[in-house]
Amino acid sequence: MNVLERLVTEELTRVPTGPSAGDLRRRARVRRARRVGAVATVAVVFAVLAIAAMLQSPGSHQVRVVEPAPMTSTTGGPIAVTPLPLATTKEFPPLAKIIASLTGTVRSNTDPKAVVENPTSAEIVATTDTKAYAIWGGTHDDKPIYVAQVTGSFVCDTCPRPEGASSPHGVALTVWFGTDGHTGGLGLAQRPTDLSQLGTVYRLELTPLATTEQFPALASMAEIVSNNVRTDYRAQPGSTRPTSGEIVETTRGRAFSLFGGSTDNLDAHIYVIEVFGNFTCDECSRPSNAVAAPQGNSLHLLFDATGRGYGFGIGEPIDLSTLGTVYRVELPG
């Protein structure tokens, strides 16, 4: 034993008694309780904020829906009840290509100020350019073509127009297709055209209805969206609430380009539901110096693979077909 160790031995005899092991355990229990309390408090705060900011908090989102655009068919009745046969590949071989092209055209030309729900169906007829010439002009070479017409509220910012004129707009969007499915042209009109003068008219489903086989958590997601729209809906005279939306299955990575957010698990499968209208989110977070509440013409709700909502956005309509195959989802009343 060296000098230092001898001194240590002496000093050890003078070390004052500390708290007992029982005292330390009590102290540890108090700390654990405080920590649990703190964590619980933080969790509650986050839950309240998340709910308020997102999906299921009554009164959290004030939604305004503008008067819907007229939705009439060529026969004057609502498109949804038009007794037209459903278009198939038998009558229209490049059907998928036509639907994809028409859907993109509709989305890119839908008037964001007026849209309540994106049109989900259209009318289509097989005819010739000569027959079409009598109505719209153009070529008349007796070439077989397909003509599709969608009713809604459309504005074409990219269409040619006289200098200083506003963007062409109309309630009927007509698109011509070649027999290979390529787009031949489009036009906007202030009233729908009776396509039956060109041939047998068929109904074209633009966005097929989503099923639980494709989207197992469809019911709960639709319920969440419906609650979000319904409970926060600020009714205006003559306004209607969106009763359907669009759903697409995609990945976090693909959605990131549109919505931003976390860069974790970019390969994870998610669902995005979009509903159209005129929404104002009074309770959404915003910059401290922002005067107006966030508003937009569409709501986007993001769900994980189990159907749990994890994101919410309000803004201008987004073309969900850039994320995957779009389906229509009916919202419970």
């Binding site: 034993m1 240590v8 070390v15 500390g18 092991a21 102290r27």
Partner: protein, 164 residues
């Protein structure tokens, strides 16, 4: 520090506390601060006892926690003394007292900590490495340098082989 069976916190605590306290006292010279940091370290140990007891060196871990707490409180005390010089505590006699302790305190920081952990806390070199967060080889060379400086202070019956 001879590690005892770590199945029972009470027994382990009773064995360890005096040396942890004394090592902190030797390093800080402040009995209150040493007691405070010691109690904090053992409170953390009992809070996580299931995890701590199966560690390679529960003593080394506790000593490391105690050293960190001590350093943080010393830093805070120095900071407060700079901000509030009139409220800073007056100079007090460093403990424990004596020429040997003065020599130990005069060592460079790393050597002082290594010597205190080795001879006061009675830690083995691997445990000192854990407590100081350095390599075992560094502990050995640091202790060798300290022994050279302290000379006779560390000369004794067991010096020939005190590396465990």
């Amino acid at each position: 520090m001879r590690l005892v069976a770590v199945n029972d916190f009470d027994e382990w605590y009773a064995d360890q506390r005096p040396r942890v306290y004394l090592s902190l006292l030797a390093l800080s010279g402040d009995a209150d601060l040493a007691a405070d940091a010691t109690d904090e370290a053992f409170t953390r140990a009992v809070t996580q006892w299931k995890r701590v007891r199966v560690m390679e060196s529960p003593g080394g871990w506790t000593q490391r926690v105690a050293l960190n707490v001590l350093r943080r409180r010393l830093r805070r005390r120095r900071f407060e003394a700079r901000l509030l010089p009139r409220l800073a505590s007056t100079e007090h006699e460093l403990m424990p007292t004596g020429e040997v302790w003065d020599l130990v305190r005069a060592l460079p920081d790393r050597q002082r900590v290594a010597v205190v952990l080795r001879y006061v806390a009675d830690l083995t070199e691997p445990d000192i490495a854990i407590a100081m967060g350095i390599a075992r080889g560094t502990v050995a060379s640091t202790l060798a340098a300290a022994r050279e400086r302290l000379g006779e202070v560390l000369t004794g019956d067991d010096l020939e082989e005190d590396v465990r």
